[in-house]
């Protein structure tokens, strides 16, 4: 089998979009070429060097499976991705909060909360709303940056919004699932 045939078999088995498939092919090709050159520089014949480089890489179909499989990612890495996603969700939630707060301020010139007119407490409620938004932004960015203290702060934030159906509730349930996952608990405790 030549290197080109190896790459054909590898890319044929890949479950990826064409652009990604080309990138993987290019990357693996570069690796095999450098390995062949290294072995040839050590005195190996070109054909033997190519065979050895491909053998070291493993069967192309196996490699393609490893690159395409839905469960290829270790749990800790998969959960880490959820932590980042949750962080961006909090940033999005904060942006929604800013829009809602601004809309109420413009349309009503007051900010009602929990069915109680806020005429007298408008500025107080606005302050609380703004504080919550700042908290969500801080939590969001801290989660995106995987700050070890972000988990506890996010759990505290959940208490504030989990009752706000539907978006706050959905975000709260997702946050609880991510933050209480044993892998996330362990990892964020250790990172501190």
């Amino acid at each position: 089998m030549t290197i080109d045939e190896y790459l054909e078999r590898l890319t044929a088995g890949l479950d990826a979009d064409p652009l990604r498939r080309d990138e993987i092919r290019l990357e693996v090709h570069g690796h095999l070429r450098e390995r062949v050159e290294e072995l040839a520089a050590d005195g190996a014949e070109r054909a033997a060097a190519e065979t050895r480089a491909m053998e070291e890489f493993g069967p192309p179909e196996e490699y393609a499976r490893a690159l395409s499989g839905p469960h290829r990612m270790p749990t800790w890495l998969r959960m880490d991705r959820h932590v980042a996603r949750l962080g961006w969700c909090y940033v999005g939630y904060a942006i929604i909060g800013i829009l809602v707060l601004t809309a109420f301020a413009i349309l009503n010139r007051e900010i009602p909360v929990a069915g109680v007119s806020a005429t007298d407490h408008g500025s107080g409620v606005a302050l609380i709303g703004a504080a919550a938004i700042v908290l969500y932004l801080v939590v969001g960015m801290a989660l995106v940056r995987r700050r070890p203290w972000a988990r506890r702060l996010a759990l505290a934030a959940v208490l504030l919004h989990i009752g706000m159906f539907p978006i706050g509730t959905a975000l709260g349930l997702y946050a609880l699932w991510v933050l209480l996952h044993p892998t996330v608990r362990r990892r964020m405790a250790r990172a501190g």
Binding site: I24, F57, L67, P74, A84, R187
Partner: protein
């Protein structure tokens, strides 16, 4: 003798992060070489599926990647992100505990 594939696969992502922490920005082949060197030739890229791990790490934001042309060749260079640095610290701590535990159980005389 090469390492058991399961042992390598379970720890490869952490080892890649560590290599990137030491070497700075580098590409797949150099990472494979660094691992082969550290293992005295017992690590093989196909064993632990190096590139799938690199792509996973990239997708998870632990490493960032860019393509560059060096000496007429296009290479994909990887670099550790700040999230990757924190993950590495966590993986190191976890590995230390785990290795201590396995050592105590498998080799109680030396515990």
């Amino acid at each position: 003798m090469t390492f058991a594939p399961d042992l390598v696969r379970g720890n490869l992502a952490g080892m890649i992060l560590s290599v990137l922490a030491h070497q700075g920005e580098t590409y797949g082949y150099e990472i494979a070489r660094a691992l082969a060197e550290a293992s005295e030739g017992r690590f093989r890229p196909g064993q632990g599926t190096l590139y799938p791990s690199l792509h996973d790490l990239e997708e998870a934001g632990q490493v960032s990647a860019r393509w560059a042309k060096v000496g007429g060749r296009r290479r994909k260079y990887y670099r550790l992100t700040s999230a990757g640095r924190r993950t590495l610290a966590a993986r190191r701590a976890e590995w230390k505990e785990f290795a201590g535990f396995v050592g105590t159980v498998l080799d109680p005389g030396h515990g």
